[in-house]
């Protein structure tokens, strides 16, 4: 799975990368190729081979490593935003329990 590209230039570059990857499936990944799959990599949405290639690249490339650190920090911050408030979730749990015990009449 691949990130959608924005411009014709980027699309051309993407095509070159794909051709290179087809010809040499196990060639080390380069920075532009890593940049294209970086978001999917962070989300655990890449296949095993891509995972291996990106991980190997990150061991040696400080710039891409910094990108990973930056987006990981952003992702973690976004997740902290989302702690669901306790009260509505608790009310919904109570509602579910009442449904399951038949305390709420089916209005269908």
């Amino acid at each position: 799975m691949r990130a959608t590209l924005m411009s014709p230039l980027m699309r051309g570059m993407g095509l070159m990368l794909r051709v290179r990857r087809r010809l040499r499936p196990d060639a080390p990944a380069r920075c532009p190729e890593v940049a294209r799959v970086l978001q999917s990599y962070l989300d655990g949405e890449v296949d095993a081979r891509t995972l291996r290639l990106v991980s190997a690249h990150l061991e040696d490339c400080r710039r891409c490593g910094l990108e990973v650190e930056t987006y990981t920090a952003l992702k973690q911050a976004l997740h902290r935003v989302g702690d669901p408030p306790a009260e509505p979730v608790e009310r919904l749990r109570t509602f579910a329990a009442q449904l399951a015990t038949g305390d709420i009449p089916d209005q269908s």
Binding site: T4, E45, Y71, Q76, R80, V81, G82
Partner: protein
């Protein structure tokens, strides 16, 4: 996995408790990202739970989250048909829940960084167009997979990936302008 022979009031109750109730947190977050309002999110999840309970005998016991998200999405489609469709954005709700800043001087560097990030993230999120905001809410906040988010939004998975990538870059650029994250280099 359900035993069809056990289908009936008792079996349904057990399936509901074991498969549906543990997903309430996720359902609420997803509902919040779609409705952008706590009151509407609660109504939507309640509606979803009711529909799930009525349909529990037809549930095959596999992938409860995917099943529930489909119900939630259908419930939301029905609700928006009945109401005006332009009430998507209530930025105050999420901003209000972003971590508040306290005196962070005594904390380790990472925690300070996280605190500063949290403090500015609300404004960066509010600046996102709703379509971008939704994918961030579904994938980063609610931790849905790309596939699940695509199902909830009713768009192809490639659209989810594209919006997500652009949304994160916008957030990062916004925070970079304020000197909180390093600038983009590619």
């Amino acid at each position: 996995m359900r035993d069809p022979a056990r289908t009936g009031p008792r079996g349904s109750e057990a399936v509901f408790q074991e498969q549906v109730v543990p997903e309430i947190d996720v359902l609420y977050r997803v509902a919040l990202s779609i409705t952008r309002s706590h009151a509407d999110a609660e109504d939507l999840v309640q509606d979803t739970l009711l529909r799930a309970y009525r349909a529990i005998d037809r549930f095959d016991g596999r992938h409860p989250r995917a099943w529930l998200l489909t119900i939630l999405r259908n419930a939301q489609v029905n609700r928006t048909r009945r109401r005006r469709p332009d009430l998507l954005h209530d930025p105050d709700e999420v901003t209000r829940r972003a971590a508040t800043t306290e005196d962070t001087r005594a904390q380790p560097e990472e925690a300070v960084m996280a605190g500063v990030l949290d403090e500015h993230l609300g404004a960066a999120l509010d600046a996102l167009p709703v379509k971008f905001r939704q994918v961030v809410d579904l994938i980063d906040v609610s931790e849905l997979s790309y596939h699940e988010a695509a199902d909830v939004l009713g768009v192809p998975i490639g659209t989810v990936m594209s919006r997500l990538s652009r949304a994160r870059k916008r957030l990062r650029d916004h925070l970079a302008r304020e000197g909180i994250l390093p600038r983009r280099r590619m």
